[in-house]
């Protein structure tokens, strides 16, 4: 039977009379939690920005026809030497078409799969941008502009013009900013491109594209699927790549394997294509949490110290309380509640400080060529961090208070009263 109002009154009086020590202990927690919130918001903000830089544009599964040598060479079929080793020098890749066979039914099939958020066709073509007698090599990708915008955030990378503009213009081209600069072209201008075969087509520039990766921007442009098919002189079923976005990235690897087996195509999943990038993310997260936890542990030791000192100072009080009928448990609760009050007040202030600092950081301008849509430092205001922060504050103060409170519980009042 614990009378909480009495216990909390005593705890409060102790804390208020030692307001200096109390504030120092609470500030330790505030500092720890504030730093945790700031760090974690800033780091995860940066992380997700860097992730998006890659993730937004990268399909979860990329399906295409790979040019590669046949795994089985004709010699293997020659029965007379089945048990011998055969060595073939200078194997040449097999002549195969770039086009994906039966691409349209395949896309339809993929779009019906419940794991698939969307599968969209692309046509990749090598072209030359022509400026007078100068020819600059480049890539033209035929896309379905609206779908591309929906699944792969194409809009974020168009710095002039619009997705709809491209979609509505049969002769439109979305030009990489690098080429536009090189050739001094602007939206509305015309550009001539030529295919490898030598056919020349005039296209109208409907927008400028900046991916953030300079080498890409210097060669890449986009047009509608139909435009690309017309330029290449191919039929409407000519599709060279299929990009698939899944609902769950974790499904990418098994799904890619399945597609490869089923359709005899090359299917690369995102993790295989960007293995190093995943590692980078997890290492950055690890560092963030290691630093935050260190800060909180340091704050925890501060609380431990101050409560320990408080208990030495309050030896007499403890003895009197015990002599007048407070049980060991009551005394323990008095000191535990002091620790928890410090944790709660310090933690809540820490959340405010963390929110303040991260809000401040989110207003600092951060402009970089690589990220056309980002104007200030990215901050992740995830409410979960605040939840974790206050829980961590309470848990660490609980442990910091537990040992000193346990000690106070065990103090023998007789020893103290007779000791004087």
């Amino acid at each position: 039977m614990i009378n909480w109002s009495v216990i909390l009154t005593i705890a409060k009086t102790h804390l208020i009379t030692k307001i200096k020590q109390t504030s120092v202990a609470a500030l330790g927690v505030t500092f720890g939690i504030g730093a945790y919130i700031t760090l974690v918001s800033f780091m995860t903000g940066l992380n997700s920005m860097l992730d998006n830089l890659v993730m937004n544009q990268t399909p979860h599964i990329h399906i295409y026809n790979e040019i590669e040598p046949s795994k089985e060479q004709p010699i293997a079929l020659y029965e007379k030497i089945t048990n011998s080793t055969h060595i073939v020098h200078s194997i040449k890749p097999k002549l195969s078409q770039k086009k994906i066979h039966n691409a349209l039914p395949l896309i339809k099939y993929l779009n019906e799969d419940i794991n698939v958020k969307g599968a969209i066709p692309q046509i990749k073509a090598q072209i030359f941008y022509m400026a007078g007698s100068i020819e600059i090599a480049g890539n033209l990708t035929g896309i379905n502009a609206l779908e591309e915008a929906k699944l792969f955030h194409l809009k974020d990378y168009i710095i002039e013009g619009s997705v709809e503009g491209l979609h509505n213009n049969e002769n439109g081209i979305l030009l990489g900013i690098g080429i536009a600069k090189k050739m001094a072209l602007r939206v509305g201008d015309r550009i001539q491109i030529s295919t490898i075969k030598g056919d020349v087509f005039p296209l109208r520039i409907v927008g400028l594209y900046q991916s953030g990766i300079k080498d890409v921007d210097a060669i890449q442009s986009f047009s509608n699927l139909k435009t690309a098919q017309r330029i290449l002189g191919e039929a409407e079923n000519y599709i060279t790549d299929i990009n698939v976005k899944l609902n769950d990235v974790a499904m990418a690897l098994p799904m890619a394997k399945k597609i490869e087996r089923q359709f005899e195509l090359k299917a690369i999943d995102i993790n295989t294509a960007n293995a190093q990038f995943e590692t980078g993310t997890s290492v950055r997260n690890l560092i963030t949490y290691a630093v935050s936890i260190t800060l909180l542990i340091v704050a925890g030791f501060g609380i431990y110290n101050i409560l320990n000192m408080l208990i030495y100072e309050k030896m007499n009080d403890i003895a009197i309380l015990k002599a007048t009928g407070f049980s060991g448990k009551d005394v323990q609760m008095i000191f535990m509640s002091q620790a928890m009050i410090i944790g709660l007040v310090g933690g809540a202030l820490g959340l405010l400080v963390g929110f303040g600092i991260s809000s401040l950081i989110s207003t600092i301008p951060f402009e970089t060529e690589a990220l056309p849509t980002i104007k200030t430092y990215p901050i992740n205001f995830n409410p979960w961090f605040y939840g974790i922060g206050i829980v961590f504050a309470l848990v660490s103060t609980f442990f910091a208070g537990y040992l000193p409170a346990q000690k106070a519980k065990k103090i023998d009042p007789v020893k103290i009263i007779r000791g004087q």
Binding site: V6, T13, N316, D317, I320, G325, I417
Partner: protein, 224 residues
């Protein structure tokens, strides 16, 4: 007459530094309304006995009865409750909670007991203060009142739950003769008018002589 406190065959050993018997076969009774003092030379075990009787020290052999109920061997939570409800304490040094006001100090044991509302407790506390003629100190910090006054506050605190018995460990040992006399008169009056039982350990012969009965101790035994 009702027996308030009874000790039966109490033995106590100190284990450190060597095994040593401090109390040998202690037997006595205190009746309701009796004012008893324990005297003896330093080290004869009188304080040790008092702390056993107060239930704060539980490492002893024998049994202890409070209001005809055995209280030896009860759980420490129960003992805390018994101390809170039935035993009032006055020490040699005026043990008050320095950060609290005099009134809060007096009210604390009653709040812990939790039998009455806050208003009733406050009324009781003022009554006890009036009884001890220190009501003007009620709202002062405990650290700001004088030694003699502190001891009176401690007595008021001991009285707040209307205990069965008040125990004192040399309550006048640290006071000048005037204040000591005051404290004795207060005890005497409580005993006479409220039929309170008192058990006081003291060195002061004058003090002891004026009590109803003196228990003399020597080498851990009661000699008279």
């Amino acid at each position: 007459m009702n027996t308030v406190l009874e000790a039966k065959n109490i033995n106590k050993f100190f284990e450190k530094p060597v095994r040593f018997q401090v109390l040998k076969n202690i037997n006595f009774k205190i009746e309701k309304g009796e004012f008893v003092s324990i005297m003896g030379k330093s080290g004869c075990g009188k304080s040790t006995l008092l702390y056993i009787l107060s239930t704060m020290d539980t490492e002893y052999e024998g049994s202890l009865l409070l209001n005809d109920e055995v209280i030896s061997g009860q759980s420490s939570n129960n003992l805390s409750y018994i101390r809170n409800k039935h035993i009032g304490f006055v020490f040699q040094f005026h043990y008050l909670l320095a950060d609290f006001t005099v009134l809060e100090n007096i009210m604390l044991p009653a709040k812990k007991l939790g039998k009455k509302t806050l208003e009733e407790i406050e009324k009781d506390a003022y009554e006890k203060l009036k009884l001890l003629k220190i009501e003007h100190l009620a709202l002062k910090k405990a650290s700001q009142v004088s030694g003699g006054e502190k001891q009176r506050v401690a007595i008021a605190r001991a009285l707040i739950n209307n205990p069965s018995i008040i125990m004192g460990d040399e309550p006048t040992g640290n006071l000048d003769s005037n204040n000591a006399n005051n404290v004795f008169n207060i005890f005497r009056e409580l005993c006479d008018t409220q039929h309170l039982s008192l058990l006081i350990v003291t060195h002061d012969e004058d003090f002891a002589k004026r009590t109803d009965r003196i228990i003399m101790m020597e080498d851990g035994k009661i000699i008279s």
